[in-house]
């Protein structure tokens, strides 16, 4: 597809749902409802809060309750077309699927997933990206359409029946004939992109290293620095934890809503049980759990580690605890140089 058609094509997708994408709001790039397609920012900076927030919202109402009991509240669910999702974040949605779509299915997540179209968009690695190490730098499933920006033209992958319907909307924008030259351009782009990664780590060895380093003093070093602020969880595209609380309306009736909002295993009260016993009172234990899920395995059924190499923890942690520094320290068995 020629770049000149891009905006008009996205405009035509409104028929399939409300357009969401990376847009700047008060100076901050975030996945949000798109007011006009020319405000979508695709090449360059990535939103700090990942696309998970559109499926697993920071805060929403699960139920409304009154004297007759609890009624599910699905009002947060909306038909969406999400534009500009990079490969690593498409992978993150596939990981979240394993948690939320596993029986019994989480109806809130599942309904939003079923009602969303994913329009993927290629990216070039930033300074902190290490998705090549985690095997999430390319994506073969999990999108309806995927645009690879090759400068002169977009190479468009069609990933679903819905994606195909979208193409048919503006069939004349797309050229079905892929020439040998186009393929060469694409291969060249891939090879150039591969060379752009500045950071990497040996992800494949991490499960074993994690298992064998359970008692390592390295954890105490990081625990001494960690502020338990939970920012790593908020920005991580695969952190799925949440907590639930009831909020009463201001009225004399027992009416209100059951809210669900993001939580972090870094918070001290995360593993607190009735009577005051805390199974993870020590900061080192909380860090260990987080990194076990990212680099060893998150839950029995899902098997694989959850890290998708987006580098958000690298950019966000105020005291430099992130997948790269932890992996390096555990691998070399020495703490990072100050």
């Amino acid at each position: 597809m020629q770049p000149k058609f891009f905006q008009e094509f996205i405009e035509s997708l409104k028929r399939f749902g409300t357009i969401y994408g990376p847009v700047r709001r008060n100076g901050v790039l975030k996945y949000d409802r798109v007011e006009s397609v020319d405000e979508i920012e695709l090449d360059g900076e990535r939103p700090m809060i990942p696309v998970k927030k559109l499926f697993h919202p920071m805060k929403f109402n699960m139920f409304q309750f009154d004297k007759d009991g609890f009624t599910p509240d699905y009002s947060s669910i909306e038909k969406k077309v999400i534009v500009g999702v990079p490969p690593c974040e498409i992978h993150s949605l596939l990981r979240l699927d394993e948690v939320f779509m596993e029986q019994p299915v989480d109806p809130y997540y599942a309904k939003q997933r079923e009602n969303s179209a994913i329009i993927g968009y290629s990216c070039l690695p930033g300074d902190d990206c290490f998705c090549k190490s985690t095997g999430t730098d390319i994506v073969e499933e999990g999108f309806d359409l995927f645009f690879v920006n090759l400068g002169e033209f977009y190479l468009v992958w069609v990933g679903s029946s819905l994606g195909h319907d979208m193409v048919l909307e503006r069939e004349d924008y797309f050229d079905e004939n892929v020439t040998h030259e186009d393929i060469e351009d694409y291969i060249e782009w891939r090879q150039a992109r591969d060379k752009m990664f500045k950071v990497s780590f040996d992800f494949k060895s991490m499960p074993d290293i994690m298992e064998l380093s359970y008692g390592s003093p390295i954890w105490d070093y990081f625990a001494g620095k960690c502020l338990s602020c939970g920012q790593c969880s908020m920005v991580c595209p695969t952190c799925n934890c949440y907590t639930v609380t009831d909020v009463l309306d201001v009225s004399s009736e027992p009416e209100g809503r059951r809210e669900r909002f993001w939580d972090s295993c870094m918070f001290v009260d995360y593993s607190l049980v009735a009577g005051g016993h805390n199974f993870r009172g020590a900061r080192a234990d909380r860090l260990k759990l987080w990194y076990t899920h990212k680099m060893k395995a998150f839950a029995n059924e899902y098997g694989k580690p959850a890290c998708i190499g987006c580098g958000r923890c690298v950019r966000t942690c105020p005291v430099d605890i992130n997948v790269l520094t932890v992996a390096e320290a555990l691998t070399k068995m020495e703490v990072p140089a100050q």
Binding site: F63, G69, P107, L272, L289, N300
Partner: protein, 283 residues
Amino acid sequence: MTVCNHEDNNPFQPEAARIVRQHDLIKDHRFFQVRFVDMKRAMSFTYNPGQFVMLSIPGVGEAPFSISSTPSRPGILEMGIRRTGKLTEALFTKRDNDIIYMRGPYGNGFNLDQMRNKDIIIVAGGLGVIPLRSILYYVLDNRDQFGRLFFLYGARTPEEMLFRTEFFELKERHDIECLYTVDKATSEWSEDVGVVTKLFAKLPEIDPHQTNAVICGPPVMYKYVIQELLKLELPKNQIQMTLERRMKCGVGKCGHCALDHIYTCIDGPVFTYWDTLHFRELI
């Protein structure tokens, strides 16, 4: 564009349940008998000993509670609840016939297949007897499916012994050996005095491979009870224990009961001693 569909199965949907009867067990511990309001649901509701339910009070919140009754006595669900937080405080204001909300059952429960035709040792400390009461009565109600039954229970004082009358009535039965102890006795206490591990000396000879043990108690108790069971040469995977975590969802989504790569709410809350060696944060 809003999409609405109310005809689905929402696993988080709390269902109305009636408190059929409730009474104090000991100070701050109350016994609740509960039944789903929907009669069909109430009669078809079944579970494994060792499973738990999520109880809700609108506006106060939701929390997990272990089931204390046995599925061999269907219709009514029993729980023993300690007053310890916001939700239990609100539960204690409820009276007979009041409505609360419930969903479940959740978790794996005890591995009954492994226990069948074996001798069973139940070891309870304090509040830990609440979930074990389920397996205790399950074995008694299906007496021909199990070998000998030993029930060891330790409480702090005679006044703090839960289900005291009930458990002393069990002593009259000949198909169960009941051994009770308290840390501090009063003058009328006829049973043992000391920690629960002291009771192991009173057990007859057992065949470790033909024996299964189930344990529940305060975190500090496990280590010492397990030492005793290992002295009897019980295989590590024939020692089952039920553990406590504060689940928010009960179905493996919210992450609160995660440890290593397992979720207590779906992979547990019953684990074997071998599991705890494997997943180091369990107890």
